[in-house]
Amino acid sequence: MGRLLAVGPRRHALDVAVVAGGGYLGANGRYGISLLVPGTLEATLLVNVLGSFLLGALVYRRVVVGALSSRLRLLFGTGFLSSFTTYSTFVLDATSHPESAVPYVLASYALGFGAVLLARWILRRPATPGRGRNDGGDRE
């Protein structure tokens, strides 16, 4: 909390507003897909895998390229994508569909991690061996 307070109340309030705006859009993106895609398991799987790919791209873009303003990260990463994807619906859906719970969980995990690895692979491809790869300590 100290870190947040240290940047000043006005900047902090703007950060919160940016996260809220991203969250508003992300939740509606997820809601819209749930209305378009028949089947709640399929809809949740789609947002979770797509969101994992895009957040992976955001994180590895920063690791490889370095540049992305912190406010854009708040808007797309913390706000939009983290709100677009959901763990609670994923778990509730698994318990309410016991007959397909195991394949659903396995598919979500495999495709979710796979999506992050795909984003990582795409963004790291041009790096020359041993150069420009910063595995730095920061994370979303």
């Binding site: 909390m1 870190r3 947040l4 950060d15 919160v16 996260v19 809220a20 705006g21 991203g22 969250g23 508003y24 859009l25 992300g26 939740a27 509606n28 997820r30 809601y31 749930s34 947002v47 979770n48 969101g51 994992s52 895009l54 957040l55 992976g56 994180v59 708040l74 913390t78 706000g79 994508l81 983290s82 709100s83 677009f84 994807t85 959901t86 763990y87 609670s88 619906t89 994923f90 778990v91 509730l92 698994a94 318990t95 969980v105 979500s108 995990y109 979710g112 991690f113 999506a115 992050v116 690895l117 990582r120 595995d135 300590g137 994370r139 979303e140």
Partner: protein, 118 residues
């Protein structure tokens, strides 16, 4: 329910859930094990269980369930957490995160069901 109201309920719930999650990430350390992701996913699953098993009406289901719980919990950060832990050689932490989020969230859903049923 008219769709404009539905969009507002989902969106405002999503905004609230996102800001609460942002607060959890700011309050908890992020340099070691990603406790914040685990915390929001377990708490949010519990709350969604309460709303679902408690038979919430359409409005509450959209605002609290789809909006707040859906946005407070996150699958994308979870996936990225696991891959980042794994690639840094902290493979037992990565495995614990993958299994722990699921096991504790299922437990939280069970606790919500028990709470609502009694």
């Amino acid at each position: 329910m008219n769709s404009l109201l539905a969009v507002q309920l989902v969106g405002l719930g999503g905004a609230l859930g996102s800001v609460l999650r942002y607060g959890a990430y700011a309050a908890l350390p992020t340099d070691g094990y990603p406790f914040a992701t685990l915390l929001v996913n377990v708490l949010g699953s519990f709350l969604l269980g309460v709303v679902t098993f408690g038979g919430a009406g359409d409005g509450a289901a959209l605002f609290v369930g789809v909006g707040v719980c859906g946005a407070f919990t996150t699958y994308s950060s979870f996936s990225v957490d696991v891959v980042r832990l794994w690639e840094r050689g902290r493979r037992s932490h990565a495995a614990a995160h993958a299994v722990g989020n699921l096991a504790l969230s299922l437990l939280a859903v069970g606790a919500a069901w028990a709470l609502v049923s009694v």
